[in-house]
């Protein structure tokens, strides 16, 4: 169990910069999730940490020792590969046992641990099978079992649950998280599923195009996105965005104006055009009553479409050319085409600089 520190890591493949100056400090025993869209460099980052790939620039430290150029086998790590890499010529049992056999663990302890891991991952009855007799999700669980039976300094998991059905995924999610808490093993977990990331992580690192856009707790990432990318990537349905020009404390979108409190004057000083963001759940139909604590900014629009989801209702509200999604808890039926007054919660308003895409508020 070690702390992991990445300093300015760069990895290029020909013209592609897969990892672009990544710096990240992971505490001993911490569970960090790398979250980002496909191709953003998650796997490459993991491979750099494991030593399977060498960086073009930058350093990797485990505690205080520089492991940048140390071969994988000397790093005391364990990994779940995105492609599983479950050896086809070994049974499930032998696959899971292999890392322990390498470490010369006594055979009876191996047996005990293989059984334990197999039970945990619900593959107990598959131990005698060969990988070609397994489904994708089963192979994936073998890969996870193989990674958790050793007690590594760092556990690396590359989308270990991507191939499981929703129920099993939820189950495994909590099993892995509980296990990690118990073993206190420093874990770096890759996923492109934001729910998985938010549920499991101590901290989430949101990546895009080889860079870390923001790192923080689920709460921080969700409530204080540092830039436009993170704000748009996290949350479903997506945050509403619209462009507005600034004059004093008035934001003008061209279709409607919003008057912000006086204290915003200093904050907005010097900006001409900004991007305003507000999450669908932070917009409330006035006729349903505004919840306490909300600092309302009232707007009126026309109902364009509604999506009843059972637990929530999503209302598509048109104000001129601007489309706002409004998420209302429970079932809420309004006729389409009708006018609707809503209140944006100023406390939950996000404002980004249009040029740098960084958060101002």
């Amino acid at each position: 169990m070690v702390s992991v520190r990445l300093e300015n890591l760069v990895k290029r493949f020909g013209k592609v910069t897969a990892v672009d100056h990544i710096s990240l400090a992971i505490k001993n025993g911490e569970f960090v999730v790398l979250l980002g869209p496909s191709g953003c460099g998650k796997t490459t980052t993991l491979r750099l940490i494991s030593g399977l790939e060498l960086p073009d620039e930058g350093r990797i430290y485990f505690d205080d020792s520089d492991v940048t150029y140390l071969p994988p086998k000397e790093r005391n790590i364990s990994m779940v590969f995105q492609s599983y890499a479950v050896w086809p010529h070994m049974t499930v049992y032998d696959n899971i046992a292999f890392p322990m056999r390498i470490k010369k663990v006594p055979e009876d302890e191996i047996k005990r641990k293989v059984k334990w891991a197999a039970e945990l991952l619900r593959i107990g009855e598959l131990l005698d099978r060969y990988p070609h007799q397994l489904s994708g999700g089963q192979k994936q669980r073998v890969a996870v079992a193989r990674a958790i039976v050793v007690e590594p300094a760092v556990l690396l998991m590359d989308e270990p649950l991507s191939n499981l059905d929703a129920l099993l995924r939820m189950l495994m999610r909590s099993e892995i998280k509980k296990l990690q808490r118990r073993l206190k093993v420093t874990t770096i977990y890759v996923t492109h599923d934001q729910v998985e990331a938010m549920v499991m992580a101590d901290r989430v690192a949101v990546m895009n195009k080889g860079r870390i856009m923001q790192i923080g707790t689920t709460e921080e990432i969700y409530n204080k996105p540092a830039n436009l990318f993170v704000a748009g990537f996290i949350g479903s349905p997506r945050m509403n965005f619209f462009e507005a020009s600034v004059s004093d404390t008035i934001l003008d979108t061209g279709y409607f104006k919003m008057k912000l409190p006086e204290e915003m004057k200093q904050v907005l000083e010097g900006y001409e055009t900004v991007i305003v963001g507000i999450r669908p759940e932070d917009i409330h139909p006035v006729e349903r009553g505004i919840p306490p604590g909300v600092k309302p900014i009232e707007l009126e629009g026309r109902v364009d479409f509604i999506e009843p989801l059972g637990s929530d209702t999503i209302i598509h509200l048109k104000i001129g050319e601007i489309l706002l999604l409004v998420k209302v808890p429970g079932s809420y039926i309004v006729e389409m085409g009708r006018k609707l007054k809503v209140a944006l919660d100023f406390n939950k308003l996000h404002i980004f600089d249009k040029k740098t895409e960084k958060a101002i508020l």
Binding site: L52, F81, S83, W87, P88, M90, I102, Y130, H132
Partner: protein, 289 residues
């Protein structure tokens, strides 16, 4: 009418299409095999069906020697070839500068016939051949090394082994190298990550995963080793008797096609038996469906 036609096509067309191949195999493979069997079991003088040819063989010490030397040569040559081919394949797998060049050079002997290869090595190893002249000129030797002649039989075997290894390792290499390249790199990476040493990776991941290619290479090499002829005949003549050489000798020199046929049949049976053994012993059980 049309329905009937359809059935006709469905049932008989495949056989019709196979007919040319069938005729070809019958004429050029089936007939010679049947003829060999007939000859082998026919008494050369009376023309009756009999085991005479085999009895004749078993009383001939040349036969037992030929059997011994054929197996001895196979037993020396094949392990060297497999080891060498494996070594070179593993080396070439870590693509370095010029690795393609090494690959091509390694494949050159594949294009040279066994007789030509034997002549090349004869010229290198013979009394005043290249090797001896170089060694003597360098002052490393006083008198030439003798590789050939009845009294230097073990040196003859060495010369044959060198020639065979030089000539036919490439085919083993091609098969094993192809097998190695088929191994997905993440299987080896997984072994790396879990701390396997180079030897453990070879022993527990690479070797089992190339078992099918190893099996193919061994079968092909062993079958050819049972038929070894040109190289031995040129480098050692009948000093080193071998099964295929004896077949030739009985057929051409002694003009006895019946005993020659018995020899061929024995070579065939040994080959089939060994092939079967490899398939049984090297069965990659994980591929069984």
């Amino acid at each position: 009418m049309r329905g009937k036609n359809k059935i006709f096509y469905h049932n008989f067309l495949p056989y019709l299409l196979l007919l040319p191949t069938g005729i070809y195999m019958g004429v050029f493979i089936g007939y010679p095999i049947l003829e060999t069997i007939r000859l082998a079991f026919t008494h050369p003088y009376t023309g009756e069906i009999s085991l005479y040819n085999f009895q004749r063989l078993s009383r001939d010490f040349h036969f037992w020697n030929a059997l011994k030397y054929t197996f001895l040569l196979a037993g020396i040559v094949i392990p060297i070839q497999v080891t060498l081919a494996l070594g070179v394949s593993l080396l070439l797998l870590r693509r370095f500068k010029g690795s393609n060049m090494v690959l091509y050079i390694f494949l050159i002997p594949l294009t040279i016939s066994d007789v030509a290869a034997a002549l090349i090595w004869y010229n290198i190893l013979t009394g005043n051949g290249y090797l001896n002249r170089i060694l003597i000129n360098l002052g490393l030797l006083k008198s030439p090394l003798h590789f050939f002649g009845y009294q230097y039989r073990s040196m003859e075997i060495l010369a044959i082994v060198i020639t065979e290894v030089w000539r036919a390792t490439a085919i083993v290499f091609v098969i094993i190298f192809a097998g190695l390249q088929m191994i997905g790199k993440e299987y080896l990476e997984a072994a790396d990550v879990f701390g396997a040493s180079t030897y453990q990776k070879f022993r527990y991941i690479i070797l089992p995963m190339i078992k099918p290619s190893l099996q193919t290479a061994l079968i092909i090499r062993t079958l050819f080793a049972m038929q070894i002829f040109g190289v031995v005949w040129i480098l050692a003549g009948r000093d080193i008797p071998i099964l295929a050489g004896e077949t030739y000798y009985w057929q051409i020199e002694l003009k006895n096609p019946n005993v020659a046929a018995a020899y061929s049949l024995i070579i065939a049976c040994i080959s089939i038996f060994l092939g079967f053994l490899y398939i049984k012993l090297l069965k990659p059980e994980y591929l069984e469906r």
